[in-house]
C-alpha cells in the first residue's frame, strides 16, 4: 500500500529549506528540539498546535527555483502567500511516522477533529502531501462544506488535491460552493481540466435562477462551459454576449474563442476588435478575474 505518492524525503527537505530562509534562529532551535520528541503522539499534537507561538505568522517568500522544486515533486503544490506557521505545520505533518496506517490516520483525523480555524487551514492545505491520499476524500468534502472562509479557501484554492481525487459530483459541489461564496474561480487548481457536461448544465440552471430573481451572474462561471457550448446553452451565452457589461461580454467572447461550436465562432467573428484582443493575449480569463476584483 502506497504511503506517499511522491518523494516525501525530498519534499521535506525542500520545505525545510524554505522554512530556513523565512524563520528566526530561535524558531528553528525550537523546532529542532520538538523534532526529538515527535515520536510521542501527545507531543506531536501539542507541537502542531503551539507552532504559531514560537514561529510567528509572517508571509513566506519563495524563490522561483524553490517553487519549481515543489511543483516538480507534487504538480500544482504551491506555498506562495502562506503564513510561516501554516508552512511549518504542513512540514510538521510530514514528520509524522506513516508506517502504521491505522495509527497515522487516527492521529491526523484527531487533529482535524480538534482544530481551530488556522489549524484547519493548515491541515487542508496539506492534503496534497498527506500519506494514503485516497483516504482524505471524505475530509475534503467536509472542508468544502465549512462555513469558514479561510478553511474553504484552503481546500478550494491553489490546492491540487481536489481535482486529482474528488469524483465528479463532489468536484461539482466544490465549484458550485466556490461560486456561492464568491471565491476567485481562476485560483481553483484543475478548473478547466475538470469541467464537465453535468457541471455546465448545473451552471446554466443556476444562471436562470439568478436572472429570474433579478440578480447578476458572475462572468467567471461561463468559463466552465467552454468545452460544452451546444444548442442547449447557446441562447444563454448569447444573452451574456449582448450584455451591456463589458466584462460579461468579454467572458462570452473567451468562451466562444475556446469553443468548437460553429454558431459561437460566428458570433465571435462579428466583433473583430474583441477577437483581436483575445488573439494578442490582451484579453484572457486572468484579465477578466483581475477586472472583477477591481470592482
Amino acid at each position: 500500500m502506497a504511503q506517499y505518492v511522491y518523494d516525501r524525503q525530498k519534499m521535506s527537505e525542500a520545505l525545510t529549506a524554505i522554512i530556513a530562509g523565512n524563520s528566526s534562529e530561535a524558531a528553528r532551535d525550537w523546532l529542532q528540539q520538538r523534532l526529538e520528541k515527535a515520536a510521542s503522539i501527545p507531543q506531536f499534537n501539542q507541537t502542531f498546535t503551539a507552532i504559531p507561538r514560537f514561529t510567528g505568522k509572517n508571509i513566506v517568500t519563495v524563490s522561483p527555483e524553490q517553487a519549481a522544486v515543489l511543483h516538480q515533486l507534487v504538480p500544482g503544490f504551491f506555498v506562495h502567500g502562506w503564513t510561516l506557521d501554516r508552512l511549518i505545520r504542513v512540514w510538521w505533518l510530514l514528520q509524522l511516522d506513516a508506517t502504521d496506517k491505522a495509527a497515522y490516520l487516527d492521529t491526523v483525523e484527531k487533529l482535524f477533529l480538534s482544530a481551530e480555524m488556522n489549524e484547519l487551514a493548515a491541515l487542508y492545505s496539506a492534503l496534497p502531501l498527506l500519506a494514503y491520499p485516497e483516504t482524505w476524500i471524505f475530509r475534503t468534502a467536509e472542508g468544502v462544506r465549512s462555513n469558514i472562509g479561510v478553511v474553504q479557501e484552503a481546500v478550494m484554492l491553489q490546492n491540487p488535491y481536489p481535482a486529482r481525487y474528488l469524483d465528479e459530483p463532489a468536484w461539482n459541489q466544490l465549484v458550485m460552493k466556490a461560486i456561492f461564496t464568491d471565491k476567485p474561480l481562476h485560483l481553483i487548481s484543475g478548473l478547466d481540466q475538470r469541467s464537465n457536461a453535468a457541471l455546465a448544465a448545473i451552471l446554466t440552471d443556476f444562471a436562470h435562477e439568478r436572472w429570474a430573481a433579478g440578480r447578476k451572474v458572475s462572468p467567471m462561471q461561463w468559463r466552465l462551459l467552454t468545452a460544452f457550448v451546444t444548442a442547449d446553452n447557446m441562447a444563454d451565452l448569447t444573452r451574456v454576449w449582448h450584455s451591456a457589461d463589458q466584462v460579461e461580454k468579454a467572458a462570452a467572447a473567451l468562451v466562444f474563442s475556446g469553443s468548437d461550436y460553429a454558431p459561437a465562432k460566428t458570433l465571435l467573428a462579428s466583433d473583430p476588435a474583441l477577437t483581436a484582443e483575445i488573439q494578442s493575449g490582451a484579453l484572457s480569463w486572468d484579465v477578466v478575474a483581475a477586472k472583477l476584483t477591481q470592482n
Binding site: P42, N45, Q46, T49, A50, P52, R53, L113, S114, A115, E116, M117, N118, E119, L120, N147, I148, G149, V150, V151, Q152, F180, T181, D182
Partner: protein, 328 residues
C-alpha cells in the same frame, strides 16, 4: 396568498436608528472580556461593532442543558475557536476565548474526567487567553476537585484564570475560590474574579486580584450600581463585562455602562480603564493578545462581509432596537 399587500424584500428590512447613548461614547473602543456569543444572533455582533466593541472574550460555559458526552464538549470548544471567531471577524471584532470545564458540569464525574483529558489539546491553541470560566456553583466536592485540577493546567500553561463566582452563598464562594487559587501557587494578578458585587469587591481588590463586574439585568449588577462602585473604588484592576448569554441579557452592556459613567461625570480615562485597558492587560498575560490585531480585524473587507459564506445576506441591514442606556 395571505391577502395582505404584496411584500418586497425592502418591507422585511428591520428599521434602523441610532440610539442617543451612542453619541456619548462616539469614538471610544471597548473590550468585553466575558460574553457568550454562541447564544447570540448575528445582529448582536453588528450592534456591538457599531457601539465600538473591538474585541471580546468568550468563556466556555454551560449551554443551559447538560451535555451527555465529551464529543459535544469538543464540538463546543471547536466552535469557540472556529465559527464564533469567524462570525465576529465578519464585523471587525477580534474574538478570543477561554477554555474550561464549567462548575455545573463538573458534577458529572465521568464526563468531567473525559473533558479534562481533552483540555490540554485546547488550552494551547491560538487566541486562547485563559482557563475559564471555572470555579464554584453549588460548592460541591466535585466542583472543588475539577476547579483545582484546572488551576494546575493553567499554571502549567502560564495562562490567566477566569473565575465564575456562585450566585448562592457568593461571598463565601468568592473567598474560597481565591484561597484555593493561592494554595495552588497562582499569583493574584493571574486570576480574574468575575461577577463581583458590592459585597465582594473590597476583599478581591485588597488581595490583589482582578475584579470583574457583570452588568446583567435582574440577577447580577445593574449599571447604575456599577457607576457607584467605580466612584467608590476607582478604576484600578476593575473591569466591566456583559456576560450576555442565552438568558435575558444585553451584549451592549459595556458600551451602555460607559455612556452612563460618562453621564455621571466619571473621568474618561477611568472609563477607558474599566471598559478596555484593564481587561486587555489582564488577559494579555496569556501572550495571546496583540492590540494591533484589533485594528487589522477592524479593517474588514466589504466583499468578504457580504459573501455567501457569511452570516449576512446581501444588502441586509443592521438591526438596533435597544435604545435605553440604563440596564436594571
Amino acid at each position: 396568498m395571505c391577502g395582505i399587500h404584496e411584500l418586497t424584500e425592502k418591507d422585511l428590512q428591520p428599521l434602523t436608528y441610532t440610539p442617543a447613548y451612542l453619541d456619548k461614547i462616539k469614538g471610544m473602543r471597548f473590550f468585553d472580556p466575558h460574553v457568550h456569543m454562541t447564544s447570540r444572533t448575528t445582529d448582536d455582533y453588528q450592534a456591538m461593532a457599531d457601539a465600538g466593541v473591538v474585541a471580546l472574550i468568550e468563556p466556555a460555559f454551560w449551554l443551559g442543558q447538560p451535555r451527555t458526552g465529551v464529543d459535544t464538549f469538543r464540538d463546543y470548544f471547536n466552535s469557540l475557536l472556529g465559527w464564533e471567531r469567524f462570525r465576529a471577524s465578519q464585523f471587525g471584532i477580534k474574538h478570543y476565548c477561554t477554555i474550561g470545564l464549567n462548575s455545573k458540569e463538573a458534577n458529572n464525574e465521568a464526563l468531567a474526567e473525559a473533558v479534562m483529558e481533552i483540555m490540554p489539546q485546547f488550552i494551547y491553541k491560538e487566541g486562547v487567553v485563559g482557563v475559564g470560566e471555572i470555579g464554584f456553583d453549588d460548592q460541591t466536592p466535585l466542583e472543588e476537585k475539577y476547579y483545582r485540577a484546572q488551576l494546575e493546567l493553567a499554571k502549567e500553561a502560564n495562562l490567566p484564570v477566569q473565575i465564575h463566582t456562585p450566585h448562592r452563598d457568593k461571598k463565601k464562594g468568592t473567598q474560597r475560590s481565591m484561597d484555593i487559587a493561592i494554595e495552588h501557587g497562582l499569583p493574584p494578578h493571574m486570576v480574574i474574579v468575575d461577577h463581583n458585587n458590592e459585597e465582594t469587591v473590597k476583599e478581591v481588590l485588597d488581595r490583589g486580584f482582578w475584579a470583574a463586574f457583570t452588568i446583567y439585568p435582574f440577577t447580577k449588577m445593574g449599571n447604575e450600581r456599577m457607576v457607584e462602585v467605580v466612584k467608590q473604588y476607582g478604576s484600578e484592576r476593575i473591569m466591566v463585562n456583559s456576560a450576555a448569554d442565552w438568558g435575558i441579557s444585553d451584549p451592549l452592556a459595556v458600551p451602555k455602562t460607559a455612556a452612563l459613567m460618562h453621564e455621571s461625570g466619571i473621568d474618561s480615562n477611568d472609563i477607558h480603564l474599566v471598559t478596555y485597558v484593564n481587561a486587555v492587560k489582564a488577559f494579555a498575560q496569556s501572550g495571546q493578545i496583540n492590540e494591533a490585531d484589533f485594528d487589522i480585524a477592524g479593517n474588514i473587507d466589504q466583499s468578504e462581509k457580504f459573501n455567501g459564506s457569511t452570516v449576512l445576506r446581501g444588502g441586509q441591514q443592521p438591526r438596533i432596537n435597544k435604545n435605553t442606556t440604563i440596564i436594571r
